[in-house]
C-alpha cells in the first residue's frame, strides 16, 4: 500500500515538472516571447531592455532552469495588466471557481448516480430510454448554448434567478447546472453500464438469499462493487469541471479563475496566464492523487497490492 502511495506521489511530482516544461514550451512557441511582453507599440530600446531584464537573451536550458526555480517558489512574475504579483491574483479568484466546480459536481453525482442505478434496474424500460436520451443530449449539448438557454428561460422569462452576478446559491444555480450537465450525463451512462456489469453477479444472489432487503443488496453490495468506474469518472470530471469553467464563467460573467485566464489571453498577460495554468494543473494533479487514495478505500485489491 505504501509502495502504491509513493508511486502515485512520485508520478504527481513528475507531472508537476512536466507542467512547468509544457508552460515554458508554449510561451516560447512564438520564438522570442519578448514581443508578447512589450506589445506592438514598444520601441526597439524597450524590447532590448525587457529581453535582458526577463532573461530571454539567455540560452533556452538556462531560461528553463530559472523558470523552474521561480515556479518552485510559486513566483510567476508580475501581471502586465494588474501590475502586481500574479499568484495572489489567481488565488483570490480560485475559491470561486472551486466552489462552482464542487457544486456542479455535487449536482452531477446526486442526480446521475441514482438515475444510472434506476436505468440499470429497469433496463429497456421507458424510464431507461428517457434517462439515456437525457444523458446523450447532455453529452452533445454545447455548455455555452445551454447556459444561454437557461439564462433565457429562468433568468429573462421566469425571473427566478439573477441573469448575471448576484450573491449566494441562487446566483450559483444556473452556472452550476450549465457546468454540471456534461458530467451528469457521462456519470449517468457510466453508472448504468457499471451496474449492468455488477447486477447479474453471484454475490448479489447470495446477499438476497441471506435476506437483505433489495435496496440494501443494490446499494451496499451492488453499488460498492460498481463504484470504481463511477469514482474514476467523477474524479476525472472534477478536473474537466475546473478546466471547463473557463467557458461557463465567460457565459455568466462569473468572477472565477477561468474568466481571469480568458482576460489574460485577451490582454496578452503571459505571466498571469502562466500562473493560472500552473494553479489549475497543480489542483488537478493533487485531485488525481486524492482519487487514487479513494481507490484504496474502495477496492481491497488496490489496498493489499
Amino acid at each position: 500500500m505504501i509502495a502504491y502511495l509513493v508511486q502515485r506521489l512520485a508520478w504527481a511530482a513528475v507531472l508537476l515538472v512536466a507542467t512547468t516544461l509544457m508552460v515554458f514550451v508554449v510561451v516560447h512557441l512564438s520564438g522570442d516571447p519578448t514581443a508578447l511582453y512589450v506589445g506592438p507599440e514598444g520601441t526597439r530600446a524597450d524590447y532590448e531592455m525587457v529581453r535582458a531584464a526577463l532573461g530571454f537573451d539567455r540560452p533556452l536550458p538556462e531560461q528553463y532552469g530559472r523558470f523552474l526555480a521561480r515556479a518552485a517558489r510559486a513566483d510567476f512574475g508580475r501581471s502586465l495588466r494588474h501590475q502586481q504579483p500574479t499568484l495572489p491574483l489567481v488565488l483570490e479568484r480560485f475559491p470561486a471557481t472551486l466552489k462552482l466546480a464542487l457544486v456542479a459536481m455535487l449536482l452531477a453525482a446526486l442526480l446521475a448516480v441514482p438515475l444510472g442505478i434506476l436505468s440499470a434496474l429497469r433496463r429497456n424500460s421507458v424510464l431507461d430510454s428517457c434517462a439515456m436520451t437525457f444523458a446523450l443530449s447532455g453529452q452533445c449539448m454545447p455548455t455555452f448554448w445551454l447556459g444561454i438557454l437557461l439564462i433565457l428561460v429562468f433568468g429573462v422569462h421566469l425571473g427566478w434567478v439573477p441573469v448575471y452576478g448576484g450573491e449566494g446559491l441562487r446566483a450559483l444555480a444556473l452556472p452550476a447546472v450549465t457546468l454540471g450537465v456534461w458530467a451528469m450525463a457521462r456519470t449517468a451512462r457510466i453508472t448504468r453500464s457499471s451496474m449492468l456489469e455488477v447486477l447479474p453477479q453471484d454475490f448479489l444472489r447470495t446477499a438476497r438469499a441471506k435476506g437483505i432487503s433489495e435496496w440494501g443488496v443494490i446499494l451496499r453490495h451492488g453499488l460498492r462493487n460498481g463504484a470504481i468506474p463511477i469514482v474514476t469518472a467523477l474524479g476525472l470530471e472534477l478536473g474537466n469541471l475546473l478546466g471547463g469553467a473557463v467557458i461557463t464563467e465567460a457565459v455568466f460573467a462569473y468572477p472565477g479563475i477561468g474568466r481571469l485566464a480568458v482576460e489574460a489571453v485577451v490582454n496578452k498577460d503571459i505571466p498571469l496566464l502562466q500562473a493560472v495554468v500552473f494553479t489549475i494543473a497543480t489542483a488537478l494533479i493533487l485531485l488525481n492523487v486524492a482519487v487514487d487514495l479513494l481507490y484504496m478505500v474502495l477496492d481491497p485489491r488496490v489496498r493489499l497490492a
Binding site: 455555452f144 448554448w145 433565457l152 471547463g244 489574460a264 494543473a281
Partner: protein, 295 residues
Amino acid sequence: MPEWWAFHRRTRTFLAAPSARFGLIVLAGVLLCALLPGRLAPADPNEQQLLARFTPPATRTSDGTLAALGTDQLGRDILSRVIHGARTSVLIGMSAVLLAGAVGTSLGLTAGMRGGMSDHLIMRLADMQFAFPFILLAITVIGVLGASIRNIILVVGLSNWATYARVVRAETLAVRERAYVDAARSLGLSRPRIVWRHVLPNVSASLIVVATFGVAGAILTEAGLSFLGLGVPLAIPSWGGMLAEGRQFVDTRYWLALFPGAALFVTVMAINLLGDALRDALDPYLQSRRAVGQL
C-alpha cells in the same frame, strides 16, 4: 467467414439502428452545407443590411426578402451564416481529427509493436496529456500564437493524439500476437510492411469509432474557442462566434443565439449517434454478447 459477408453483416447491423439513419441524414445535410454553402445559402453571410437589423425569424425584411431564421445586429441573414458556419465546423473538426489520428496512430503503433522503453515513454506522455486541462492548453497556445483556422486545427489536433495512441496501442498488442502476423514475420516481411498490411487494417475499426467521436469533440472545441473570442476570425462565419455575438442580445433577440446553437447541438448529436452505431456494428465483443443475449 468471407470478408464480404462480414462487411455486409456489419453494414446491416449499422443501418438497422434508427439512430444511425438519423445521424447519417443529418450529417449528409451538414456536409452538403459545408461543401456548397454558396449554392444553398439565400444570401451573402457577411452582407450587412443595417435597415433590416434584428428582423425576427420567418419575417420579410423591408426589401421583401424572407429572413427564415431572422437577421442579426448588423442585418446579416442568420440562415446564410448558419449554412456557411457548417463549413468552418466541418473543416476544423475533420482536419483536427486527421492530425490527431495520424500522430496518435503512429505513436500507438510504435508503442504496441516495439514495446519496451518506447512503449513506456509514449504511454507516460499520453498520461501527461490526459492530466492537463485541454481547454486551458488551447487558450494558452492561441494566446501566444494568435487565433487562426490553422492554429486551431494544430492545437485541437495535437491535444487529442493521446486517445488514438492508447486505443491503437491496446489493439496492436492483441493483433501482433495473432497467427497471421507470425506467419507474415516468418515469411520475411519487414516490420513496416507487417504494420501497413496486417496490423493497421485490423486496428482500423476501433480507430474509426474513436475518430467519429473525435470529430464531435473537435467541433465543440472550435465552437467553444470561437465563443471565447479565441477562435476563427470574426469575418468567417462560425457557430461559436455567432453564439458569442448572440449572447449579448439574448434577453430581447433570442434567435441570434438559438439557431447557431441548435445547429451545433444537432450536428454533435448526429455524430455521436453515428459513433454509437458504428461501435455497435464494428465491436466483435458487443456482437458476441448480443448473440448470447447478454445485451
